[in-house]
Assembly symmetry: C2
Homo-oligomer: 497 residues x 2
């Protein structure tokens, strides 16, 4: 049961666990129900239309003539045919409507940029399933789930839009994405610079592959987030693993853990590692979504959720049992802020149905091989080496494929990307994925923006009264670059005509 741990550590990358529906149920600690419910500052309805575009299932071969319908959303409230632009969201590993609802930034800048907004759903996610209901019936159907195919989809979709929407043809397109979608935005500008004048790649860990950054970096950032969110917080968590182990080894301990942690199923000794992985993943998820206001992205959460968690984890002098009761309170902040969960189901760390956990698992087993490790000294987790062999075997068992860990850097350039241009890499310093992101300018046109108080692509979220100044500054810088690319496009176009 070692490998699922490794898988679990990856899945937080916005796609944890197997995507099972959980029956909603009872109560969480009432004290956690914060009422910060920020309202949007805008009055215009943020309407979109839903469209479908016929894509080839295989862009890179000619035997297979099959096509599928890719879903995309289009919003042209603020679009102008005269001097306007097209902001193209390069969809990532989830339902595009859910991603749309968490990417208010694009609406917030649409008017200023006279922009048409397009949100393209990534193949194998949401409704864009190349083999319909059979997509996951046979893992061979997943063969066409790669970043290259997704980028080709985006290229063909943009071509289609510019051919069919009058006025769109001679307008600059800008790719925007967050997380894996941020990588896609950056890679799209790198591979299809003729399609987009620039890319905003938010929280895009393009260097989290192939040991381009130390595998320890990710969990150290998670640890730092807890460290700075309350006294003794990360240290309490660090101690909790041994406490769990001690309980798990005593008679009655498993049952005590089951009750104390409100687990849905009785804990067995085989499940102990799984429990710890599940807890780890919740801490990781919290680090990703440690936003300054109440949100509902992976889960319904209070503002600054780690601070709330850390309120329970101040005291290092407590006994094992009190420590684990406090850990439960902490987990509950994440798992049950809405008060809907009757018990803790350690098979899932998010209850959203919008994430494509199956597809993402396949992607991590093929191209998106992300080494993550811990040593238990510089981070608050149990030591865990990165073991490619085990990981590969697990992938083979699960999907019948083996990862190709160096492919992404061979394909997209690894750290050697300075010949590209017009990409803004933004990263929140609270976000563990910033460890694999571009956090320093590479050239004048490959620039890094860091957001000290930002978690995972906070900048792509809608403006909010509780936004820290650093994200407001980041957004205004981003807009400055977007406008520059648009201006340059019209400038050079005018010169040509």
């Amino acid at each position: 049961m070692d490998c699922p741990a490794l898988l679990l550590l990856l899945l937080p990358f916005l796609a944890p666990g197997a995507a099972k529906a959980l029956r909603p149920a009872v109560k969480a600690p009432g004290s956690l129900h914060l009422s910060t419910n920020p309202t949007s500052h805008r009055s215009v309805a943020q309407n979109y239309s839903v469209f479908y575009f016929q894509q080839k299932v295989d862009h890179f071969g000619f035997n297979n003539m099959k096509t599928f319908k890719q879903r995309y959303l289009l919003a042209d409230t603020y679009w102008s045919k005269d001097g306007g632009s097209i902001l193209f969201y390069t969809g990532n590993e989830g339902d595009i409507i859910w991603l749309y609802n968490n990417t208010g930034f694009m609406w917030d800048v649409a008017e200023e940029l006279k922009a048409m907004l397009v949100f393209a759903e990534h193949r194998y996610y949401g409704e864009s399933l190349p083999f319909g209901d059979d997509t996951f019936q046979d893992s061979r159907n997943l063969n066409f789930l790669t970043s290259e195919q997704a980028l080709a989809d985006y290229a063909m979709l943009i071509k289609h839009l510019q051919r069919t929407i009058s006025g769109a043809e001679d307008q600059p397109v800008i790719a925007i994405g967050g997380s894996y979608g941020g990588m896609l935005a950056a890679w799209f500008r790198m591979k299809y610079p003729h399609m987009v004048v620039g890319a905003l790649a938010a929280s895009a860990p393009i260097w989290q592959f192939d040991h381009l950054v130390p595998c320890s970096k990710f969990m150290r950032i998670v640890t730092a987030d807890f460290e700075k969110s309350g006294p003794n917080c990360s240290e309490s968590i660090k101690r909790s693993w041994a406490a769990i182990n001690r309980f798990a080894n005593t008679s009655g301990g498993l049952q005590w853990l089951t009750e104390t942690l409100h687990l849905c199923s009785p804990l067995t000794s085989e499940d102990v590692q799984h429990l710890k992985d599940w807890i780890s993943e919740i801490w990781v998820n919290l680090a990703m979504v440690d936003y300054p206001y109440e949100t509902n992205f992976l889960q319904p959460l209070p503002a600054w959720p780690i601070k709330i968690v850390c309120q329970y984890l101040k005291d290092l002098s407590v006994s094992d049992s009190v420590l684990l009761q406090n850990i439960f309170q902490g987990l509950n902040v994440y798992y049950n802020y809405s008060g809907q969960a009757k018990c803790m189901n350690i098979s899932e760390t998010t209850r959203t149905n919008y994430l494509g956990a199956l597809s993402w698992s396949y992607q991590t087993c093929t191209e998106m091989v992300i080494p993550i490790c811990t040593n238990g000294i510089d981070d608050m987790f149990e030591p865990h080496l990165w073991n490619l062999k085990e990981f590969s075997d697990e992938c083979f068992k699960q999907w019948g494929v083996r990862p190709r860990p160096s492919w992404i850097s061979a394909l997209y350039g690894g750290k050697n990307i300075s010949s590209h241009s017009n990409i803004v890499f933004s990263n929140g310093e609270l976000d563990p994925w910033s460890g694999g992101g571009v956090t320093r300018d590479i050239t004048d046109t490959l620039v890094a923006i860091t957001i000290p108080e930002g978690a995972h692509h906070l900048d792509l979220r809608a403006n909010n009264a509780l936004d820290p100044p650093s994200v407001l500054l980041a957004r205004s810088l981003e807009v400055k670059y977007l406008k520059r690319w648009i201006r340059d496009f019209y400038g050079s176009n005018r010169r040509q005509h």
Copy 2:
């Protein structure tokens, strides 16, 4: 029988006809045996070693774990680990040893650039057959024959060389190729700029797709070559089609044509179009290889072969029968300069076995869709429209696939490539493919070099005493750019360390 004509018009792109072996036989006009046999100026043996590298058959999917052996040649006579470079030939549609033997330029500059030379064979050509002897048994096996797969092969091979050859790791790699290989060199720099510091794309018609240039351009250049190679030459050829038609319509005319043109098989009325296509293709081939000295690329040929052809086609006052006898003499210059051919086989326009005609035919039926047309007014051919539908149907019949004519420009940018850098596009003005090439500078680092007296990638051939000054100038400019890229690489590397 209309469509094979279209196919034939494409195949001159270095891969005509079906690759059948022809039994060598008797005599051609002795007067054509010129003795200009240029010797190389160098004394060092141009030795290479042959290697094989295990490649994935499918770089873009994970179901298929099959691999194949890609052949490559390596020559390190002049290579220096200190300040050296790697010149990487991006193989095109033929046996790599044959291409090596026609790319003396790389040897000629190796010493000056302290360069290792690598010649990579394109998959599905030469010995690099992904399915071995079965490669062409089932057309579904050709599914992995695309330019994208070939570029990925090159990327993986370079990675392998830099990992395994001590001293190669920190050296600049430059892609060099001609014709389709020139397109690959340019596209490689566009798509994998982290792998190569620049590309020399010789006679690379990257705009010959998707109507980026008029489909008439190609045959007009062919016509111009004949026009300027002798008085009345192109006009004689223009008149020959009607003469053929008139003979074909008279009793005994088919037999007369068979005898006069020394055809291997009796001409039937169904074959007349095929005969004219075959003749057209020979004129096209001559335009491609109209080199200033005796060569043996597609065929053994005299220096300036079109001038020799045109010696037979000066007189417009001749009768149909004399005209066609003269046409035969002209064809013979191309077809039988070596005196080996007993008769004219209209199923082939080259007797080299090194060209991968089958594979190239598949490529033209999938990605490499090259519209070519004539109107019989501005060119010396019979009018012929470009008919995608017919072409597609023919492809489907032959290979079970249909072309995707806009894909190449969607993938590689069409005319919108200004965001790339460090590519030299060289074109000979005699070369019909220059019509689809980049013949004007796009930016400071995307530069065009034109060679007025140059045919198809003359600049990539070895230095020769009979080289016109324009190709010497082109080569020296090319070396200047190669050296600049190498210098820039070491300059920026030094800054980084």
